[in-house]
């Protein structure tokens, strides 16, 4: 879906390469998180995809077309774009903001209004808010509107630069989870830029770890957390990488049949293994009963089974 081949970007003649001979392929429907320390070239890489920046060298192909061969303005209308500051237009109502790209595409007012209602539903906002101005929304609500606006014309590709960066950690975690659900419903090819590894792990099907304009490792979160390619990645993912990796799996992955012998703590199905392990650590046990929503025991989770994942 998105292919970058030997892409280099220098800002200005003779400047150091901000993106350095980078190649990556993002298959259709996959969410790739570009992660890495500040200044490593994540934003630059992302902005070259919709031609907000033109590469100095290399080739970028989106949906089969070389991006150099298309009209960038028209092309961008078919690529969702979300930025950290959200960038809602303050003089337009939420309805006008969300309907901005459809309007550029020449949709009828009826169709835009209908789509606006759908989108508000999708991002979990009251359609009554469509009449408000951005100033009258909270930071988290604005971020949701930003996502709705990017999805408005149902673009196959979504580019997001620190989309949940400007909100408090609790609201952020919720928004990330909701966004994951949204992505499950609307299959998109997503390039997500973040410096937050946890966000990358939570949302990315694949991670591209960047350093000095290069991708040092490109793989699934599981593979990167279990086998960091080099010392840089190892340091970047941190000492707790094994724990982070466990957060990728739910208790069902390691659950075995039967109920624990004697008294045991409980863990709800759907909980991730990292949290399950934390429960075990809290009451110094080696086994937990896995329960469904009604409290019925589905099976048991043994500590050894967690470590074997």
């Amino acid at each position: 879906m998105i292919t970058m081949e030997h892409v280099t970007k220098r800002y200005g003649e003779g400047a150091a390469a901000s993106v350095d001979d980078l190649s990556i392929e993002v298959p259709e429907g996959v969410t790739v998180a570009l992660v890495g320390p500040s200044g490593c070239g994540k934003t630059t890489t992302m902005r070259m995809i919709n031609r907000l920046i033109d590469p100095t060298e290399g080739r970028i192909v989106v949906n089969g077309a070389d991006v150099r061969s298309v009209d960038p303005v028209i092309f961008r209308r078919h690529i969702g774009y979300v930025i950290q500051q959200v960038g809602l237009f303050p003089h337009m109502t939420i309805a006008q903001n969300v309907g901005a790209v459809p309007k550029l595409l020449g949709w009828s007012a009826d169709r835009i209004a209908k789509r606006n209602d759908e989108l508000m539903q999708l991002v979990g906002l009251d359609p009554e808010m469509l009449r408000r101005y951005p100033r009258q929304l909270s930071g988290g609500q604005r971020q949701r509107v930003g996502v709705a606006r990017a999805l408005a014309a149902d673009p196959p590709v979504l580019l997001m630069d620190e989309p949940f960066g400007a909100i408090d950690p609790i609201a952020r975690a919720r928004l990330q989870e909701e966004f994951r659900q949204i992505l499950r419903r609307v299959r998109k090819t997503v390039v997500l830029v973040t410096h937050d590894l946890d966000e990358a792990i939570r949302l990315g099907d694949r991670l591209a770890i960047m350093r000095d304009g290069k991708i040092v490792q490109y793989d699934t979160p599981d593979a990167i957390l279990s086998h960091p390619a080099d010392e840089f990645v190892e340091n970047f993912v941190g000492l707790d990488r094994a724990l982070k990796r466990l957060s990728l799996f739910t208790v069902e992955t390691a659950m075995t049949k039967g109920a624990p012998n004697g008294k045991a703590g409980k863990v709800a199905a759907g909980t991730n293994l990292r949290d399950a392990l934390a429960l075990m650590a809290a009451d110094n046990s080696e086994v937990l009963a896995v329960t469904d929503a009604s409290g019925a025991v589905l099976g048991q989770l043994k500590r050894d089974a967690i470590f074997a994942v």
Partner: protein
């Protein structure tokens, strides 16, 4: 009050002329300022140059400016319009450019990323966001010009200045008073009217 009640049509005609002269100057100055402002907003050197030129015009006393134009444009409306429009230009140019430059970077980035063309971005995003400043510029320009336009009577451009001038010539205080008060009244009227309009148009900023 003996003169005024008997000369109401004359006074109204002068007030009408005054209005036309002022409004037309602001309109002409406004159009040029917006066009020039759009060109200058992202070109700091050109803007500095434009400010120098309009600044020089601004410090020339209005009477001298009108007089300077007589050789080229003769007497009457034309030189007055040119002179008054030039005054508007400086006031408005600053506001247009400041307004356009004040549009936050992230909003421009979002607009670009979403697929607004340069022209669409200007018309639908940048100008509307600069509008509050442009409108207050127009208000200040109009109030200023309504005042200065009285001087245009010296070059035969008509307006309320004519009545004031007559009063001075004939040593007739009532005429001076009527002309002066009417000018002040018109200026205040537009000040209030445009303030209200500004508030109504930029609803998105406050409530």
């Amino acid at each position: 009050m003996t003169w005024a009640p008997k000369h109401i049509p004359e006074i109204l005609a002068a007030a009408g002329q005054h209005l036309v002269l002022s409004l037309l100057s602001v309109l002409i100055g406004g159009i040029i300022a917006v066009a020039l402002g759009i060109v200058c907003a992202r070109r700091p050197r050109l803007y500095a140059f434009a400010l120098t030129i309009t600044g020089i015009i601004f410090v020339i006393p209005s009477l001298a400016l009108f007089a300077l134009m007589i050789p080229f444009l003769g007497l009457g409306m034309k030189p007055a319009l040119v002179g008054l429009s030039s005054y508007c230009l400086l006031i408005l140019l600053r506001n247009v450019v400041t307004g356009l430059r004040g549009v936050p970077e992230d909003i421009l980035d979002a607009a670009d990323g979403m697929g607004y063309g340069p022209w669409q971005r200007l018309v639908r995003i940048e100008l509307p966001l600069a509008l509050p400043l442009i409108l207050s510029g127009i208000r200040i320009a109009l109030v200023t010009v309504i005042g200065i336009a009285t001087v245009a009577a010296f070059i035969d451009a008509g307006g309320l200045g004519t009545i004031i001038l007559m009063g001075i010539d004939q040593n007739y205080p009532e005429k001076i008073l009527v002309g002066g008060l009417l000018t002040a009244f018109i200026a205040t009227f537009f000040d209030v009217l445009l303030s209200r309009t500004e508030k109504a148009i930029v609803r998105w900023r406050s409530d």
